[in-house]
């Protein structure tokens, strides 16, 4: 296209309100994710993290406000177009019994190949790349329900990678994984960001990991944006007391320069939030 380069390259939510039926979950959330970084979305259970991810990915229609993907209203883009730009890993997805890793990852090419076309060379390349990047090449023929939780999670991430999108939205990619596999997945995410320039937004529950792997933290609390910014400014005792109702010490990590968190105790309800 001969148009001037689009000045807006990020993913932007403006006054985004989302609900289920009559129940409002997100209220007027404003968020801007620039291209290039890793953002961690944190907040207590039920604060609306998954809902925000679904609205950003156009899986849920907002009751108010808009989502702009690289300057375009996402609601007006064709579904396949959105899926070619933005891949999403939902929270705890379930594959049909007996489906193999290869069969799953192949579906990542759906937005590119469409329902009627057979896979082409570039599709097979993308599938091979996705399997290799997640270390799943050797598992291609295995049934998903016969894998360990970590292997299965990597297979699902491979599905989103096969989609070959510049944007990647992950909802709790580390749940059910042991600490070793958690780090493995997070390092994979960091590598994809570094080597392929994929912009990542991921929901994490472990705040120390969020601070360690993300450039920016976005904190949701009760359906509202509480705070956002670099881990050093967002991860504070005050935020932890107010949002998560815990008392914690924040210690700068000498090696990474990121803040590290040491939880001390849960604050009883009604205790002054600092």
């Amino acid at each position: 296209m001969m148009l001037a380069p689009n000045p807006e390259t990020g993913l932007r939510a403006e006054a985004l309100s989302v609900g289920y039926g009559d129940r409002a979950v997100l209220e007027r959330v404003a968020l801007h994710l620039p291209r290039g970084g890793i953002t961690a979305l944190v907040g207590p259970n039920g604060s609306g993290k998954s809902t925000l991810l679904k609205a950003l990915a156009r899986i849920m229609a907002p009751s108010g406000g808009t989502v702009l993907l690289e300057g375009q209203a996402i609601a007006r883009l064709p579904s396949a177009e959105v899926a070619r730009r933005l891949a999403v890993l939902p929270q705890a997805p379930v594959a049909p019994a007996g489906m193999t890793v290869a069969e799953l990852v192949e579906q990542g090419r759906y937005p590119h190949a469409g329902p009627l076309r057979m896979l082409r060379r570039q599709d097979h390349d993308a599938i091979r790349d996705a399997l290799a990047a997640t270390g799943m090449t050797g598992f291609a023929g295995r049934a998903l329900d016969e894998l360990s939780g970590g292997e299965r999670q990597r297979a699902w991430i491979a599905l989103t990678l096969a989609q070959d999108t510049p944007w990647l939205l992950l909802d709790e990619p580390t749940t059910f994984l042991d600490i070793g596999h958690q780090l493995e997945v997070l390092e994979l995410v960091a590598r994809l960001n570094r080597e392929r320039g994929i912009t990542v937004l991921m929901v994490l529950h472990d705040l120390a990991q969020a601070a360690r792997f993300a450039d920016r933290l976005v904190v949701l609390h009760g359906g509202r944006l509480h705070s956002e910014g670099p881990p050093g400014t967002v991860l504070t005792p005050a935020m932890l007391a107010e949002v998560f109702r815990i008392e914690a010490r924040i210690i700068p990590d000498a090696e990474t320069g990121r803040p590290h968190m040491l939880p001390i105790r849960h604050l009883p309800d009604g205790a002054p939030a600092c």
Binding site: I59, A80, A83, P90, P115, R117, A143
Partner: protein, 339 residues
């Protein structure tokens, strides 16, 4: 598993079974006389075509519904389509005999086929409507509402049968069990439009089904418009089921086992699974029909001390469970899941 090897085997088996179906029967016809034997042209060929088409339709319908509901126990009757079709046919049989004052209506009539398709589609639409919440149908509700709709339709059918006379009962029994006896060219014509529409719609939607079987959330992330996609798959399954049941009745098992066997042969990719399910189910129904024609009836007569009143052989719907149940048990207990 390579997923390619089974095609020649399936084609070969299907051909063998088809030839056996044409050559055997009350009159054995040698292979050489097959092309221009009058019995083959008038009787066996149309019946074979009906069996092949109906089998393929039920197999594909089962595969479609197993994919849509992500439920391995889904079968063509799941949405109440079969029960609705049978109810409509029974209604039509009873109504026709009242109107025409006939003791018995021949079960070859076009009007029975049309009534069956209308009843089946209506039941399917009702199930779909009941399983929608906020504009989205939930697979779990589809299964549940299907049970309710099918149960209600069967209850009404049973009630109607209480008022039916013996001739009507016998005729109706063949519909509820499912039978291919006496099916001729008129039935091929009745079946053909639904087979053409349903099979092409179902096979072409394999790519969509692939995305949909990952669940609504993931499918939406892949750019699929989930609800229209699901409706299309359900509609194709309903057309296939209603069309088949309207001509051969509520034959069970092939639509459940066909897709399972196919999945063992070619895996979960719907682009291979759907055609394989159609072929396997066609093969199974042909085998069952062969069995139905050659099953010895003497022991039943000896046991019940009365003659079996099935002049043209026992209905194939009796044989499919006889064939299906042991096979299914073997499937569940002896066959390890694909490694």
């Amino acid at each position: 598993m390579t997923g390619r090897a089974p095609w020649p085997m399936l084609a070969g088996l299907l051909l063998l079974t088809a030839v056996a179906h044409l050559t055997t029967g009350p009159v054995a016809i040698p292979l050489a006389e097959l092309p221009d034997h009058v019995i083959v042209h008038a009787v066996r060929l149309p019946r074979l075509i009906v069996v092949l088409l109906a089998g393929a339709m039920l197999g594909l319908a089962g595969a479609l519904l197993q994919t849509v509901t992500r439920n391995p126990l889904a079968e063509p009757g799941l949405m109440g389509v079969s029960a609705g079709a049978v109810l409509a046919i029974v209604l039509a049989i009873i109504a026709a005999s009242r109107i025409e004052g006939l003791g018995m209506v021949r079960d070859t009539g076009w009007h029975l086929g049309l009534a069956g398709v209308a009843g089946g589609m209506l039941a399917g639409a009702l199930t779909y409507a009941l399983s929608r919440r906020h504009g989205v149908s939930r697979p779990v509700l589809l299964v549940l509402m299907g049970v309710l709709v099918a149960g209600s339709a069967s209850a009404v059918t049973s009630m109607l049968l209480l008022t039916a006379d013996d001739n009507q009962l016998r005729l109706v029994l063949h519909w509820t069990i499912g039978s291919t006896n006496g099916r001729g060219w008129v039935h091929v014509e009745m079946l053909a439009p639904y087979a053409a529409a349903g099979l092409s719609m179902g096979l072409l939607s394999a790519g969509i089904a692939n995305a949909l079987q990952l669940g609504d959330g993931v499918a939406a992330c892949l750019g699929l418009r989930v609800e229209p996609a699901r409706l299309m798959l359900i509609f194709a399954a309903a057309v296939l089921t209603a069309g088949a049941v309207s001509v051969v009745g509520g034959i069970g098992f092939v639509g459940l086992i066909g897709p399972h066997l196919a999945r063992m042969l070619v895996g979960n990719d719907a682009r291979r699974l759907f055609p394989a399910a159609a072929l396997v189910a066609a093969l199974l129904l042909t085998l069952a029909d062969l069995g139905a024609r050659s099953l010895p009836l003497g022991w039943i007569e000896a046991w019940s001390r009365s003659p079996v009143t099935a002049p043209s052989g026992i209905p194939v719907g009796v044989v499919t469970p006889l064939l299906g149940v042991p096979f299914f048990l073997w499937l569940v207990f002896a066959h390890r899941p694909r490694a």
